[in-house]
Symmetry: C2
Subunit: 374 residues, 2 copies
């Protein structure tokens, strides 16, 4: 059996391991918390710091393949492991480009991939000197995740909310829709494209509110989206699974927002709604099997289940019975013992032939199911 | 989180644990082999003998709930645990009735549940004295599993193939179809019924060849099947999940063949083909959630993947790439290191709106995918 490791033990690792149990693969996970969501679902759990060179190197050196479920891993160790023959999904070079938002933006520019106009800013003083560029989005170069490290600066007075660190100042785009597309690439360069997903965001937390797949878009926009996300993935020159997040403007322009080089929240509906889920697909890539079928079985929606405001402590799921009674709904609780405001604690998928049913149930679930502390 | 244990660490446990990762539950598994298919997917693996009183009692005494993935567990320990307040799915009394084929047959008779005519036989001499009853099926009272412990005796000369142990001698029924129905019962006695499955057997190994769900049956037969399987489950008076296997004769009679008080091979298609899988459903029962939706998303078929004749040793999957290329097919490899002739090594599910597509692909998979030794 292939020995394959996952750096990170969160919910993405958990769902990867649920899918891994369909294949002959021996699984390894490294995370610093023995009670993390993925820790008990692997053959071998190794406690360690994914940001530390030695920890990552020691973890990977006897494995045949490695993947990540979070970008903040030690890429120098991955480069060393790659040089020694371990297969890394994604390649460390692609990860290095993506995990720094400055390099990521420059990558889009270099390859003529449409992305919102921007300046690289060395620190907050540099942002102040570009007050004429507002309204804009300030993104920290490294260390941002899940809405942290991103600030909308509408007026000069708001500049002080920005980061006093290298980053990019990006023109605020007049967004009509936010779209994500998951794409898989295998080692032979073959590509499988999932139908695009329409993401509806909670602007306050900058966290996903709900998403619907396939996105309802005119054919010419669909073509643009597919062409652009394909270009991103081809230029990254790496096998793996990628989520390309894009903005569609009211004028029908498409801009890449950012890319994740891993399984992604915007692909969770694929577990039930598509023939091959994003998790199944990544194992096919890692194990060298044929790519899976990305077609939709039924249209799907997901609602993220976030820790309620003002609740911190042992997680308790209010309204779970009511949601479990819904006919075409699938609950995924990530098994985190502690909740806190905005923490991703689970998600719920709805599948239905009727888009109205998806939207109606998404709102109902959103209003019914709450993660509180006991 | 509820602490729940599974006795047995085979593929049924493996699939139960894949489903458990959607819920807040702390999982325990007991099996005598640390490399069994379920061993690495639980929070706590305990090495022990599920047939041994002390092992089972020690395993269960600090848990809130226990289930089984095989009948051959120590039921005295389960009775003791039940008396001490551990919830057991199924109840030990139901398990006791079912695991002895003599008691099981008598249970059907007592409750006027149609089953093939039979005699209880104390030993092989008793079978010999009933030579006039042939052709018949001789079933050993306890210890049979997966086709072992069952012999078809067509002529008096074949009687010596029977078992010199207590058993039942059952009239050979003129079978048109073999049907299985999975039913879930929760602690409040509420019931959820899956659509019946048409099982096609390999008569040589007495192992499933392929199965199709929902079974294609006239309405009056469907009603009989549902009424009979409901009666079985109601009279067992136990929460849990049950698979009732039935024969339909050419004359349209329905006889119960046998019942399994657990998740079952005849329900594996429900992972992809039904809204709530049999594994999801059992967790709903154990955790006290509402019962799931048994409706079909798309019709499904499964093919069991058995170790090839003459192959014993490290498992190798021939034709896997070809099967993974099929559009609407889901592969489940159980991760057993060693194969041997007839061993259940995995299964493949097909879902499709078209019955012809299900049958065609089932045969193709059967002829393509082989488990051999290296």
């Amino acid at each position: 059996m292939v020995k394959a490791g996952i750096l990170g033990g969160g919910q993405l690792g958990r769902m990867l391991l649920q899918a891994a149990a369909n294949y002959p693969v021996e699984t390894y996970v490294m995370e610093d918390d023995e009670e993390s969501p993925a820790a008990h679902l692997c053959h071998h759990f190794i406690k360690g710091d994914i940001r530390n060179f030695d920890d990552v190197y020691q973890f990977g050196k006897n494995l045949q393949a490695l993947t990540i479920e979070i970008e903040s891993v030690n890429e120098e160790a991955l480069e060393r492991l790659e040089a020694e023959g371990v297969k890394i999904f994604p390649k460390p070079a692609a990860l290095r480009t993506i995990k720094n938002k400055i390099l990521q933006k420059q990558f889009y520019t270099e390859h003529s991939i449409p992305t919102a106009e921007y300046f690289v800013t060395a620190d907050l003083a540099a942002v102040r000197s570009r007050a004429d560029f507002l309204p804009a989005v300030h993104k920290i170069g490294t260390g941002g995740y899940d809405g942290r490290g991103v600030q909308i600066l509408r007026t000069p007075a708001e500049i002080e909310k920005g980061f006093d660190a290298p980053g990019v100042l990006e023109k605020l785009v007049n967004i009509d829709k936010e779209i994500a597309q998951i794409i898989a690439v295998n080692e032979r360069g073959e590509i499988a494209i999932y139908p695009p997903v329409d993401m509806v965001f909670d602007s306050r937390l900058n966290l996903l509110d709900y998403q619907i797949s396939p996105a309802d878009l005119p054919q010419n926009i669909l073509w643009k989206i597919e062409a652009i996300s394909l270009r991103v993935v081809k230029e990254l020159k790496s096998p793996g699974i990628f989520a390309v997040e894009m903005f569609v403007t009211r004028q029908g322009e498409v801009f890449v927002n950012e890319t994740a080089p891993r399984v992604h929240n915007s692909g969770h509906h694929t577990i039930e709604a598509n023939y091959s889920s994003q998790f199944d697909m990544l194992w096919r890539v890692i194990l060298g099997y044929p790519l899976g079928n990305t077609e939709v079985i039924l249209p799907g929606a997901i609602v993220n289940l976030l820790g309620s405001e003002g609740c911190e402590g042992e997680a308790h799921y209010e309204g779970l019975d009511e949601v479990l009674q819904m006919d075409n709904v699938f609950v995924h609780i990530y098994g985190k013992k502690e909740t806190k405001a905005g923490r991703k604690m689970g998600h719920v998928t709805i599948i239905s032939r009727e888009k109205q049913d998806l939207v109606h149930k998404a709102h109902k679930i959103r209003n019914t199911l709450k993660v509180v502390s006991k």
